[in-house]
Amino acid sequence: MMNDAGLFALVSLLLPALSFLVLAVVYPFRRLGRPAAWFSIACAAGSLAAAALAWDAHADGDVSRLLWAWLPTGGEVLATVGVLADAQSTVMLTLVALVAFLVQLYSIGYLSDESPPALGRYYVYQSLFAFSMMGLVLAPNFLQLFICWELVGLCSYLLIGFWYQRPSAARAAVKAFWITKAGDVGLLIGIVLLWRHTGTFDFFEMRGLAESGAIPLAGLSLITFFIYLGAVGKSAQFPLHIWLPDAMEGPTPVSALIHAATMVTAGVYMLVRTEWLFALTPDVLLIVAFVGAFTALLAAVLACVQDDIKRVLAYSTVSQLGYMMTAIGAGYAAAGFLHLLTHGVFKALLFLGAGALIHAVHSNDLKDMGGLARRMPQTAIVFVIGTLSLAGIPFFAGFLSKEGILGATLAGGLMAPFAVLMLVAFLTAFYMFRVVFLALFASRAMHASPLQPADASPIHHDAVEATHGSPVHDPPATMVLPLWILAIGSVGIGLYFTFVHPEEEFVNPGWLMPAAVVTAVAGIALAWMAYQKRSIDAAGLANAFAPIRTAALRRFWLDDLFEGIYNLVFLGFSKLVGWIDRYLVDGVLNALSAWTLTAGDDVRTIQSGKAQDYVYGVAVGLLVLLLWARWVLA
């Protein structure tokens, strides 16, 4: 049961693998830098084409699986690897391939200051990421999913720490890895338990079991919850979302690819893939929904107070992921998946746009920007397009998917989350346009930001020295091209959906669309008044929400909490154990040996050197023997 969809998918999966192998193994080639980069890009392009073909080739409803035995045990095959190409996976594959390709292209320009070896290293990571992300998307079973899941985590770690000489980057890298790993512990446990529960890793077989009701429900909730934990870590749900903002230490294209469009959505994707499994455990779905909504709100609030443009985008990503999760929790995974796709496109666009701005001014800080629209028209246009999509304005990509999620939440009967999401929609529009106005339109002199950032925004020092005082202008073609492609993408999707309405398995109430639009516009209006027209004093606005703001500036103390756990629980406890091992466990051993040595010294004192004492020895021995003989006779 395989058709060319499967084959194309396989091809698009293997091309990045090829480029990874070549770059990783052929050391000198990698050190060349740009040629390596172009090679990788070529492979990415190829895989994009293949992915598109796969998407096109897959006929609706049918599924093509290619499996190879991977892990034998007990005489039979325990686990397989392969490709599972169906509607979901192929479209997701296409998205991944697209963004990956564009980002790699974009990076050539963005990282033009890097030394060739560093550039080579970067593209090795990129290729590996593309491969593993595609592997994740096409995974036919939980095991391969987990394998690729970990690999993308690794790539994220490596790419966040790409500028590892910067302490903050090194820290952020390990932080990201540990936090997500914590989630993965849950996922791993979940998979093991599920294997024991159902006797297989394979989605296809498992789904068959699920639909035939062959999976015992007892204890299933625990299992799905464990699996969900993995998603919490990867998709930055509360409380494990804290790694994502720090992850912005990585190069901006990386953030666009990994921390906006693809990897962070892996959690959502997994839940979408296994909706039939989660459908069996509504209680867990409820948790998913509420946590999602809460995350959305939390992140939105945090986004409002950031002065680092990338952090704003990061928090908005978290918030949007919360959106998707809520929809899934409401029981309408399709809606969440749709938003995942559109979000992937326009959030990548936003990040790349932001990257262009940062590249121009050599700073992440909004305060260093302002009025850039005049000097970088193209960037400004695409950035606004992205923002409109995110804000959920009609005819743009985000609009329908967002409305779909709101509708789904409503249809799921989750009133509280729905209210929260509406609020978040408002906030989203507000903070995004705050960025737009501050960065692009309001002139730098004009705005003195009332919002002092909690953490000094890290500046790409070496870059600053590299091209200091160079006139700010639009980036080179390799960077602009991807921007336009994505911009056209988001508009195109928007228009497409306005005319070809995707059928939903639920009906939105008539008032929902207007309400959503109004909320968004309101948010935009507020931002306009506060940061462009200045009719509302931003400071006053800030003071109005003073308590929340202070809390938000401290990131609700979550980071401190985790810091504390790391320092006190892990390091402290390890110190204790280390001490015990060295001075008690080993100490006892030393004590025993020392006692033996002492015993030696003591015993030898009977060897007094006096002949008569020796005879004493004989006499005593004799006496004992006689007593013994007596005792034997008795």
């Binding site: 010294d601 060897q607 020796y614 021995g621 003989a629």
Partner: protein
């Protein structure tokens, strides 16, 4: 049965020739008086002894088993085995001492070798004695020259002291032995060994008393705790090649006597000795090893480790089974090679460094690698490490003990082996790890080197292919049951 002269000669061949050799050495020594104070001259007596011993060793292969004087004097497998062991050990020791530069050895070689031969004669007889009086006489014939030889370096400050200690403890113990023998005689109403089992079976208190006394006395000879105390002092003071012999041959003789009196033909009654011998073995192993730990003088260290080894042999003895005895005999041979070899190396080092201390061995591996390697091999053999004789020896006695169900004893022994390795490794550390104080290599006289080489070959040979040796031991022991 009454042996014809031919019979007599055939069975007594080794002893007779040995007497002849002794007289020959004496006479030769008398006629060729060495010029006074001639240093390092080749003592004719020594050579004669050595060659003679080799010859007799060869002769032992031409005598068949049998018995004489109404089974007073038997030549069974055990006796053969023992005699060859004694002769081999003596030959090795003589070889090692031939080039001994110490003044008395050059000056009074005749006396030295004569005494040695006489003591050896005692051993040979002892190995065959199946009658109490003969046994006792042989025993004394063996012991008395040993006291003398211990004090042979008479100008030396400590040698006489050692001799005195050895003598006092020794004579006291022989008094105890003969006291015990007297009871045994009294109960049996005769002096033939083969009637012991019956007497033992009768369970007469005096019999038990006598056997207990006897055990104590023999305990001295094999230097088992707490009768071992003479050993370290004696070893330290006496001349090394002699000590090498002293540490092996008399102990072997003691064990032969033990076997003859306590196991041979006794049957199930023998099991009555199992607990006491086990305890004896255990204590000997523990104390011997513990006391060896703090030693700084290698000769003393070897002395104490020797005590511990006696303990291990006693483990084999405690098994009170055919295989136990066999394994013990095998152990004796392994111990002979290992221990004598070690002492010879000590001799070699002592001659160049004028010291028996462990420090004298610093960096020996870099000064003369082969010597160090030999020492290492001997130590490992004593420590019971694979591919050298000691390993199989220990293993076999443990095996025998386990067969008799002495798990505790075996475990104790096995654990104490680790302690033993600790102090052996201290010497190894000094030889291999520590940096040498001097660069030039240690000169080893050819003959001493030969002796060392023979021991090394023996140790390694037995270690790599123990099969035949085991079979020999088993055959020797099989004659007892």
């Amino acid at each position: 049965m009454r042996g014809t002269a031919y019979e007599l000669l055939r069975l007594l061949l080794p002893e007779v020739t040995l007497v002849g050799l002794a007289i020959l050495v004496l006479v030769a020594g008398l006629i060729s008086r060495p010029s006074t104070g001639a240093q390092g001259q080749r003592p004719i007596a020594g050579w004669m002894t050595f060659v003679g011993l080799l010859a007799i060793f060869g002769l032992t292969f031409f005598i068949r088993e049998g018995s004489l004087f109404g089974a007073t004097f038997v030549l069974d497998g055990l006796a053969m085995f023992a005699k060859r062991l004694f002769l081999a050990a003596a030959a090795l020791s003589v070889l090692g001492s031939l080039t001994n530069p110490q003044y008395p050895f050059a000056r009074r070689a005749t006396e030295y070798h004569f005494a040695l031969l006489v003591s050896l004669l005692g051993m040979l007889v002892l190995a065959s004695a199946r009658e109490l009086i003969l046994l006792f006489v042989a025993f004394e014939l063996m012991s008395i020259p040993l006291f003398l030889l211990t004090g042979f370096l008479k100008k030396d400050a400590v040698a006489p002291e050692a001799a005195l200690k050895f003598f006092l403890v020794g004579t006291a113990s022989s008094a105890i032995i003969v006291y015990g023998l007297s009871f045994i005689y009294g109960v049996m109403g005769g002096t033939m060994v083969e009637s012991i089992p019956r007497a033992l079976a009768s369970g007469h208190p005096l019999m038990m008393l006598g056997m207990a006394l006897l055990l104590a006395g023999l305990g001295f000879k094999i230097a088992a705790f707490p009768f071992h105390m003479w050993a370290p002092d004696t070893y330290e003071a006496a001349s090394t090649p002699f000590v090498a012999w002293l540490s092996v041959a008399p102990k072997a003789a003691g064990f032969i006597a033990l076997i003859r009196l306590y196991i041979e033909g006794v049957g199930p009654e023998a099991l009555v000795w199992m607990p006491v011998v086990s305890v004896l073995a255990g204590m000997t192993i523990v104390t011997g090893n513990l006391m060896a730990i703090p030693q700084q003088n290698v000769k003393r260290l070897l002395a104490y480790s020797g005590v511990a080894h006696i303990g291990y042999m006693l483990v084999g003895f405690a098994a009170l089974s055919s295989s136990g005895v066999a394994m013990m005999l095998f152990y004796l041979v392994a111990y002979m090679f290992g221990n004598m070899g070690a002492f010879f190396v000590v001799e070699a080092v002592a001659r160049s460094e004028q010291s028996d201390g462990i420090d004298a061995y610093r960096g020996l591996a870099q000064r003369s690698p082969l010597l160090a390697l030999a020492m290492l091999i001997f130590l490992l053999s004593l420590g019971g490490i694979p591919f050298v004789a000691g390993f199989w020896a220990k293993l076999y006695v443990f095996l025998a003990a386990v067969e008799s169900g002495l798990y505790g004893l075996v475990f104790l022994g096995a654990v104490l082996t680790v302690v033993a390795l600790y102090y052996y490794l201290l010497v190894a550390r000094s030889m291999y790890i520590d940096a040498p104080t001097r660069r030039e290599s240690v000169p080893v006289p050819g003959l001493l080197g030969a002796a060392i080489a023979i021991c090394a070959l023996g140790v390694v040979g037995m270690g790599v292919y123990p099969g035949p040796w085991v079979d020999v031991a088993i055959r020797a022991a099989s004659s007892l049951f």
